[in-house]
Amino acid sequence: MTAEVESLESFGERARTFIRGNLRPVTRREVASALRAHRTDEEELAEVARERVVQRMLFDAGLAGVCVPREYGGQGLTPAHQRVLNAELRGYEYPSRAQLPTFSPCLAVLLEFGTEEQKREHVPAILKGEELWMQFLSEPSGGSDVASALTTAVRDGDDWILNGSKIWTTGAWWSDWALCLARTNWEVPKHAGLTVFIFPIKSPGIEVQRIEMLNGSKEFCQEFMTDLRIPDRYRVGGIDAGWTVGARWMFHERMGRNSPLVTAPEGLTRSSGAGAIMCSIARAAGKLSDPRARELIGEAHSLELVGNALRRRIGQGIMTRTMSDQASAIVRLFAGMADTRRTTIAFELAGSAGGVWAEGDGDLAEWGIDYLMRQAICIGGGTTEMAMNVISERVLKMPRDVTPDRDLPFRDVPRNRTSTG
């Protein structure tokens, strides 16, 4: 048989049949409150378990890893097929925790830089929902400046010994594998002394602590690696060549939901149907017909429509090479600006219930908590300030900022005054 590509129509039909027959529809309310910290640990683990099952069902239905080569268990299809699947998934449950960061950046990095052995071992396991991956990237000593990693790996025969700490790892306590950036050489400038490793999170030598956010959520973790011993076959890319991998890693992280490797319902985000959600708040506040409220509702919804259009435009630009990969920072910056504005609008529509609410306040309740967490969208996954650097320096080609650490041996680079790392 020749390598005939399944038509989009046939693929869509197959996806539709599977989704309608097997997956649970979700309500708009569930989407709106997806980021709120209401789950107990047991509920969280139950959801993780369900998502692993759903990922396995997708795999068995020939719908997992749409753009992953067939030799690694994927479907070997195109981004257009992935978009069809995403469109069909709209309004249904999907294995969200199995997607980010497992498929992008982790799986994407493995496909680009992993050894044949690593790919054969991990890619099919990821597609089947057996391995959930996390990024061991940020460190307590510095968030945006990831190339200044202090976590150190020292060669010991055929093994490496890792010591250090990573932070802001979502759900590390229920995850399986880590993609980790570590320093292997302190005598060269920072970008030239890094190496990328993979290892199981539940290893002796790794302690996972959960971080309580100000809204009560405990989804983020900090990990402490103490004399963690891993074999050299867990290395991804060359020794001290970690930034070659790292640069692509960052790119895949910025692609996030837009990556053709990621399965996520089209349009179904936390802010999906912003207009409808804002309407429900205004209605509960008894001011749905107030012209000022109407204006805010229209603004929130418009920002969402603009964001969707922008994501498509930049995605198309990158795919057709009319824009550089770095243009993905534009989508990231817009998301930060628009999402904070929408959060403020919801808070404003809730009126005095934004600060204090009672049981039975329904759609008025808890927007104040979202407001307290408003800036999280501008911090996580690379701050908006970093995005602005990328856009100005890499897209607009403006002169790079002075970086005194660029050419110094990393050992001599000035570090935080207080010892946090």
């Binding site: 229209g298 435009r313 100005s392 403006m398």
Partner: protein
């Protein structure tokens, strides 16, 4: 502006861009400052030969789209108009030509508009307190088989150059559209002042203006859908033009940031300014994206077209004007002089913000559309 143009579309864009560079350059625009019409009739006729008036007209009526959608083609043209702050009634002639073609209106008039020999314009907006979208007080009543118009429309583009007016007015609970000769008895046209250097607008007053039923476009009281489509066409053109002007101003400002040195460094090397440029670049790309999306939605007649086109006007209207003000700020003193070209684009974007509904009005319209959808579901 579309990310990818077909070779035919690119040729069309280039031809118009070359023409505008020669006939609508910055020096030429300044000379038109006190021109009563804002453009020379010869300029408009030659533009019409390049296809400026034919894109919303069916082939049977002598129109010619370049791609499968004349409206999308028209955004390419409007974008170039914005990039050059070009003179000429692009919005009004195209909207009226499209309306005449769609409703089977006066063929001779349509041919005149197509050739650029005649100007026809659309009288739709009204002044306060009727300046909301679709909120109009002009009445068109039926008397002895004739149509009688009473009301005041403003601002009306190029009314002082127009031979014919397409008037949208209220008949009972519905809307009616008629063609009125600009010289008809009871029509008075009073020029207005405005921010743009070459765009001219007027107050058009209708006092017991009587026209024969043959001048009707569509049916009495049943023109709401047609008027909505015309409004969407107008918005798509205004948006593309505004984005073109934003792009040009942004390009000028980026270039300036590389050339201008202070304290021994180019402006483009200051992080505080680079971050502002990053925000501007993001706003600009977002404006391109939503303006193009609006054009596609309207061209395809999608059910969410009204929502998207209003979201686009709300966003581009507000942030486009802010982007231009940032460009001025980053230029410093030279940015507020008449000598510098930046104001040509500031004027065009500022005007665009106010035409066919302010951002505020469109945000409300988006909310109305959602509330209606919510109530229906």
């Amino acid at each position: 502006m579309l990310l990818e143009l077909s070779s035919d579309q690119e040729l069309f864009r280039e031809t118009t861009a070359r023409f505008l560079e020669r006939h609508a350059n910055a020096a030429g625009l300044r000379q038109l400052r006190n021109h009563p019409g804002g453009f020379a009739s010869d300029y408009w006729r030659r533009g019409a030969e390049l296809g400026w008036t034919s894109l919303l007209v069916s082939e049977a009526d002598g129109g010619a789209a370049i791609s499968s959608s004349g409206l999308v083609d028209l955004t390419i043209l409007a974008h170039e108009f914005g990039r050059h702050a070009a003179p000429g009634p692009l919005v009004s002639t195209n909207v009226v030509a499209g309306a005449l073609s769609a409703a089977g209106g006066d063929k001779a008039l349509l041919a005149g508009v197509l050739s650029g020999a005649s100007i026809a314009t659309w009288c739709v907006s009204e002044g306060a307190p009727h300046c909301g979208i679709g909120n109009m007080s002009t009445r068109i009543s039926v008397e002895d088989g004739d149509l009688v118009l009473n009301g005041v429309k403003r601002p009306v583009e190029s009314a002082n150059q127009a031979s014919h007016l397409l008037v949208t007015g209220r008949t009972g609970d519905g809307l009616t559209q008629v063609i009125v000769e600009a010289t008809a008895r009871g029509v008075s046209i009073l020029p207005m002042q405005g921010v743009d250097l070459t765009k001219r607008f007027s107050v058009v007053r209708f006092e017991d203006v009587r026209v024969p039923a043959a001048n009707l476009l569509g049916r009495v009281g049943e023109a709401a859908a047609d008027a909505e489509r015309q409004l969407q066409h107008a918005l798509v053109i205004v948006l593309a033009e505004a984005v073109g002007a934003m792009q040009r101003a942004f390009d000028m400002t980026v270039e300036w940031a590389f050339e201008r040195y202070s304290f021994g460094r180019p402006l483009a090397s200051y992080q505080a300014l680079k971050h502002r440029f990053a925000q501007m670049a993001t706003c600009l790309q977002a404006s391109h994206a939503i303006a193009d999306e609006a054009a596609r939605a309207v061209a395809e007649g999608r059910p969410d077209a009204a929502e998207i086109v209003s979201a686009a006007k709300a966003y581009v209207g507000e942030y486009g004007a802010e982007l231009l003000q940032e460009c001025v700020q980053l230029h410093g003193g030279i940015g507020v002089t008449f000598e510098h070209d930046l104001h040509l684009f500031l004027r065009r974007v500022t005007l665009a913000r106010t035409l066919f509904g302010t951002p505020e009005a469109h945000r409300r319209r988006v909310a109305d559309l959602i509330a209606r959808k919510e109530a229906a579901s």
